[in-house]
């Protein structure tokens, strides 16, 4: 499971542009993941400046 914490997210798009599989979408203020494409590389978790993303 990959999740973004709405309370932390500053909807900056850092995760979107970093994802090597292009499986993250930023809908203005809402992050959406296409988990079928995700390889759990963890880059989105690491790049998020405020730690809003969790990968389980």
């Amino acid at each position: 499971m990959i999740k973004s914490d709405k309370e932390l997210c500053l909807y900056c798009g850092a995760c979107v542009g970093t994802c090597p599989r292009n499986c993250i979408n930023l809908k203005e203020t809402i992050i959406e993941f296409d988990e079928s494409l995700c390889t759990k590389c963890n880059l989105c978790v690491r790049v998020c400046p405020v730690g809003a993303i969790t990968l389980e």
Binding site: A14, L43, C48, V50
Partner: protein
């Protein structure tokens, strides 16, 4: 009340739109491209997914001065917050060198109000005839039976519709999805992404004459910036190379730790928070395909040493807009025709980007002790021009091991 629909097809409420050129993204790259194309009579539509052009701000707001009039931007006090004389570059033990504005890279000169700046560019483009739609996202590309790109799938206020266009401009910033949908490889290595966080702080002590840069382990593979906006306000931010980030929220921890150590900043109040990422990569091999061109951050057109990308977005935008108008006139939207754009932006930016990428790769592995020694050396060496190249030359003389493997380039 617009009706909400969940169906993914074409909505019966939002009508499809036809135009010559659809620009995805209303940042500097999008608005500059739109303006120059529209000035030549093209029918241009800019779509911007946010509800307000330029806001929220995602930027340190520093720009150099020399390129502004070349791309046809009128200097306007509405978007100038402060003018700085130069940059101060601090080593880890806080020794610093002063570099004058002309030599200090593309983030030093004016401190701008970025939301006002982006809006001013949009107004210029609209005056030239470009149409705008805000709160409108591109959600995919439209292709015909032969896989030719014929426009974008879009969504406005929850309604899906299609925008048919002869040419698509990807100006969607760091997210850079439009290009990837079209098969242009804009994926970045972990060395080539900076994770950034910035606070706008009020009530701090800073010298409004200088934009300050702090190098070393306070910001591995990047730097901390303090860009003064005047009246005790500054943008205090950090960029860290993704390679060095292993855990959640580290970027924020680094920035908070830095501020805690600086008496002049510690007492400041945070009145704004800005996150984002910046690409610091080599220039891409291609930013065009048939019927599509990428401009600005979406085409990774950022100076890899400073992380500044406003100037390059505008410079490339002007060239892209002109080439787009020519393509329309010649009715040729082939990748081959767009070589004009590739040649144009590369002539302006590619060599510097490449050199500065090399410099970044080297600087990002220098340890604090060496940074401090370098600061010592640079105190007495009078560099006629503080370019990455000159800096590396000095490093080579004193610390050949640091630039091993890059001698040819120097």
């Amino acid at each position: 009340m617009p009706r909400r629909s969940n169906n993914v097809g074409v909505s019966d409420i939002m009508e499809d739109i036809k135009c010559d050129i659809v620009v995805v993204g209303g940042g500097p790259a999008g608005s500059m491209t739109a303006k120059w194309a529209a000035m030549h009579g093209s029918d241009v539509l800019v779509i911007e997914k946010r509800q307000e052009i330029g806001s929220p701000v995602r930027c340190g707001e520093g720009i150099s001065k020399h390129w502004i009039s070349d791309v046809g931007i009128r200097i306007d006090n509405k978007w100038i917050a402060n003018e700085v004389e130069g940059a101060r570059i601090f080593s880890p033990s806080l020794k610093h060198i002063v570099v004058n504005e002309k030599m200090a890279g593309n983030e030093v000169g004016y401190m701008i109000e970025r939301d006002q700046f982006d809006k001013a560019l949009a107004v210029d483009a609209a005056k030239a005839g470009a149409r705008y739609m805000v709160k409108t996202s591109a959600v995919g590309l439209l292709k015909d039976g032969n896989n030719k790109l014929i426009g974008v799938k879009a969504k406005h206020m929850g309604e899906h519709f299609n925008i048919f266009a002869k040419l698509i401009i990807g100006a969607d910033g760091f997210e850079s999805q439009v290009g990837r949908w079209a098969g242009i490889n804009t994926i970045l290595r972990v060395n080539d992404v900076e994770s950034c966080l910035q606070y706008r702080m009020a009530g701090i002590e800073c010298d409004t004459r200088y934009s300050d840069f702090y190098l070393g382990s306070a910001a591995p593979g990047g730097y901390v910036w303090v860009f003064p906006k005047g009246d005790g306000v500054a943008n205090v931010g950090i960029g860290i190379q993704l390679k060095y980030l292993k855990h959640k929220s580290e970027t924020k921890t680094y920035l908070d730790n830095f501020i805690k150590k600086m008496p002049g900043l510690k007492k400041g109040k945070i009145i704004d928070m800005v996150a984002g990422a910046v690409s610091v990569s080599q220039p891409l091999k291609e930013v065009t395909k048939d019927n599509i061109m990428l401009v600005g951050d979406s085409g990774r057109m950022i100076d890899p040493l400073t992380g500044g990308g406003i100037a390059s977005a505008c410079i490339a935008g002007k060239i892209a807009g002109n080439v787009a108008a020519e393509a329309l006139e010649s009715r040729d939207f082939s990748k081959q025709f767009f070589q004009k754009y590739e040649k144009g932006w590369r002539a302006e930016l590619e060599e510097k980007f490449y050199r500065n990428w090399m410099a970044k790769e080297r600087l990002s592995v220098i340890d604090d002790i060496t940074f401090d020694k370098l600061a010592d050396i640079l105190q007495d060496v009078k560099l006629e021009k503080l370019t990455a190249h000159n800096l590396l030359k000095v490093v080579k003389e004193r610390y050949p091991e640091v630039v091993k493997g890059f001698e040819g380039f120097i």
